[in-house]
């Protein structure tokens, strides 16, 4: 395999960045669309499960047929697309209102911070260990060169992810402060408190995989957690997964922890004064954060690019017959499928349970999650010491 020159590797990295950005900007609108559809079906909404392109094309023909048969047409995967398109158009075309008394520079800065912090995390996320694909030999300039499964699989990957993701809080706090309005301020303060408190159990729950796998490199951790664990490691993994998912909900401000933007109390929380694409950036950042949290959960607990979760793949692989070897190997598709499932979980939870109160959220974070995360960490350390 040829070694790339410096320029070649820069071009390859650039291509990887492009792929990640495309991935993000495909996954996010699809998540929004899925949210409409899934919520639509969960809640038996009429709009998002039936709005379609009207009377044209195949779906229009189906529509008319079903109406004629006296049935309400429901089952169509593309119903609701006009709603999504309308949403996106609205965000892009809407007038961008800036409050007169706002701190203009910070008001501009805040959504960009949120957005950048959310997307930069993907630099350290590796979709599949090793080579993702190799350029065919006829490819100009890059022929025969391998493309790895992550942009930069650095040795402190997890540290980078946690560090950069935390910067996103600044976006929210600054947005709340710079709007110079009371509801955003309350929303910003709430989110500062909430995200700082939930950062601790989140990190602690991620420390268990670090201890177990003895690494901070993303792909190495994912590999070891999926195929290199003894059976005892199942328990801290399962506890850690649930803890991490809970904290992840809080970190991404989703129900039941959507305090900063609790619409029934604080109007829209920190982004009350935002409109147009600036609001769209917050919106995007939220969904990208969801994707990131899902990616981490999927990599460290659900086996990442391997098929089975919680390290079961490593336990099962020796007994796997040869003709199933495709299922024994890592594939990016498994990774993405798990991300999609976790995103679905987000929506599912949103459709099911109410919102905590602010003080109750704090109580849950400090009184239950942090002690539990510490115990889980101890358990993982014990397994590391005595079993591995």
């Amino acid at each position: 395999m040829p070694t790339p020159t410096l320029t070649q590797s820069i071009v390859i990295t650039f291509i990887q960045c492009l792929m990640v950005v495309i991935f993000v900007f495909v996954v996010v609108p699809l998540t929004v669309f899925a949210e409409r559809k899934v919520l639509g079906h969960l809640q038996q909404r009429l709009g998002s499960t039936r709005v379609a392109s009207g009377h044209v094309g195949f779906s229009g023909w189906m529509n008319r047929r079903m109406w004629k048969m006296g049935k309400v047409p429901v089952v169509s995967y593309w119903r609701g697309i006009p709603g999504l398109v309308g949403d996106v158009l609205k965000l892009i075309l809407k007038e961008d209102v800036i409050p007169a008394k706002a701190d203009k520079f910070v008001f501009f800065l805040a959504p960009s911070i949120s957005m950048v912090a959310a997307i930069v995390v993907f630099a350290a996320i590796s979709f599949v260990p090793g080579t993702f694909f190799t350029f065919p030999t006829w490819f100009p300039y890059l022929g025969g060169l391998p493309v790895s499964g992550g942009i930069s699989d650095i040795n402190v990957g997890l540290l980078w992810i946690l560090g950069v993701a935390t910067v996103g809080v600044y976006g929210i706090v600054l947005a709340g402060w710079s709007s110079n309005s009371k509801y955003p301020l309350l929303g910003g303060l709430r989110s500062a408190a909430q995200m700082v408190s939930y950062e601790v159990p989140l990190t602690l729950s991620l420390l268990a995989p670090v201890v177990l796998s003895a690494s901070l490199n993303f792909s190495e951790m994912a590999t070891r957690m999926a195929v290199g664990m003894p059976v005892w490691a199942l328990i801290p993994q399962v506890i850690g997964f649930l803890l991490y998912l809970t904290c992840g909900f809080a970190e991404t401000n989703r129900l039941p922890f959507d305090m900063p933007e609790a619409e029934n109390e604080l109007v829209a929380g920190f982004h009350t004064e935002y409109s147009g694409m600036k609001f769209g950036l917050f919106y995007l950042a939220e969904y990208i954060n969801m994707t990131v949290v899902s990616a981490l959960a999927s990599a460290f607990f659900l086996g990442g690019p391997w098929l089975l979760p919680f390290g079961l793949q490593g336990l099962l692989n020796p007994y796997l017959p040869g003709f199933l070897s495709w299922f024994a190997a890592p594939h990016a598709i498994f990774f993405v499928a798990k991300i999609v499932f976790l995103l679905f979980t987000y929506i599912w939870v949103r459709g099911t349970i109410p919102r905590y109160r602010y003080d109750q959220i704090m109580a849950v974070g400090w009184k239950y999650l942090i002690p539990l995360a510490l115990v889980n960490l101890l358990l993982a350390a014990a397994i590391r010491c005595f079993v591995v």
Binding site: L39, L42, Q43, Q44, R45, K182, Y183, L186, R190, L255, P256, D258, A262, E263, N264, E265, L266, V267, R350, G351, T352, I353, P354, R355, Y356, R357, Y358, D359, Q360
Partner: protein, 366 residues
């Protein structure tokens, strides 16, 4: 070094969870409410003045538009107050149909309450489930009187029309599925830990305070006072119905939730009895062409879904319109208790308290 400053914040008049144009001036210490002052009047249309200048019949459309979620209950109170003023006896079949529709209206109103209250607390799904069944109730309204929301369902002296053909089938179909629907809502909320955490012990209003503040309806019954005008001062056909008054003693938001859910079950029971025991006969009393009142003064209260809705009418001799038309709106009186419930709680509790009050600004501001 640190200055402790209270923050004054306006909840409303444009706010997602003030159910209209209620404005609540809050003073906050952090997130704790230290002072709360509801301010109303943004939807004042002068219904009382308008009705004083219209004939007895014409007032009804205004009662629809007061509490637009329970238009039939408002119509019933209005019709009965006018009948009391003019001394009209209503045929028994009309009484039964009125009772039936009124109970359907109670279900519709409580469903709206359930949906919006749950949404205030963050449970989105219940909202749409509740509206799904409300749609059926509105269809029944439509089948009876042609309109869904502002029904103008009754006439002084009875009803304009008898039940339409196929009505009984609609009602039976609704009753057959409704208890399952209620179980569906309860499955999402009643034992939900977060729902319980958000509602138990929140916005308490003791029985003594409630009575002193004139609070009626489910709010009062959740405090343990079994005061229901349908039983205490029976009207329409309620004296012949067999139903219970659900009460709780906890007097908090959760108790109000339980009371309202139980009330919907009782309403379904009453509807069943009305449908089974529907008498035959005319639906309209024999009346002169023009209704002229004598000198009289009546206060007639009925149990609307929100509480006691009372109409105070003064009749002038030989007059075609009421000399004085006053509405004792349940929401108006109940809203007075908001500061008592909200002060000392958090902002989120204010929202829960407003939700549990079940207010409609149309009737508060009139």
């Amino acid at each position: 070094m640190f200055k402790n400053e209270e923050m004054e914040i306006n909840l409303g008049p444009q706010h997602p969870s003030t159910h209209g144009v209620l404005r609540v001036k809050l003073r906050l210490d952090g997130e704790t409410v230290t002072h709360c002052r509801p301010m109303i009047g943004y939807l004042h249309r002068g219904v009382e003045k308008i009705c004083e200048n219209q004939s007895f019949f014409q007032g009804q459309v205004w009662t629809d538009r007061m509490d637009y979620c329970s238009a039939v209950a408002n119509n019933l109170g209005w019709a009965e107050a006018n009948e009391k003023l003019l001394g009209i006896t209503v045929p028994r079949r009309a009484q039964y149909i009125r009772t039936l529709l009124n109970e359907f209206n109670r279900i519709a109103s409580h469903l709206i309450w359930l949906g919006t209250h749950a949404m205030d607390i963050g449970a989105l799904t219940v909202f749409l489930y509740a509206f799904r069944e409300r749609e059926d109730v509105l269809d029944i309204n439509e089948a009876f009187c042609g309109s869904r929301l502002t029904t103008t369902a009754f006439r002084i002296g009875g009803l304009r029309e008898d039940l339409p053909p196929g009505f009984e089938k609609m009602v039976r179909k609704f009753l057959a599925k409704f208890s399952d629907c209620l179980e569906e809502y309860e499955a999402l909320l009643t034992e939900n830990r977060i729902w319980k955490k958000r509602t138990i012990g929140v916005a308490r209003l003791s029985a003594e305070d409630a009575i002193a503040l004139g609070v009626t309806g489910p709010m009062l019954r959740a405090a343990g006072v079994a005061y229901d005008i349908r039983k205490a001062f029976p009207y329409a056909a309620y004296a012949e119905m067999d139903f219970e008054i659900p009460t709780r003693t906890e007097a908090d938001t959760y108790a109000r939730y339980q009371v309202r859910m139980a009330e919907m079950r009782q309403s379904a029971r009453i509807i069943q009895q009305c449908m089974d025991g529907m008498p035959e006969g005319p639906v309209m009393a024999k009346l002169p062409k023009i209704l002229r009142s004598e000198v009289n003064e009546v206060y007639h209260a009925t149990e609307s879904p929100k509480g006691e809705i009372g109409y105070y009418l003064v009749g002038e001799k030989g007059s075609l319109n009421p000399y004085r038309f006053h509405v004792r709106a349940p929401g108006f009186i109940n809203l007075q208790s908001l500061p008592k419930m909200a002060e000392g709680g958090l902002i989120a509790d204010v929202v829960a308290a407003i939700g549990s009050l079940d207010i409609v600004l149309g009737e508060i501001d009139r």
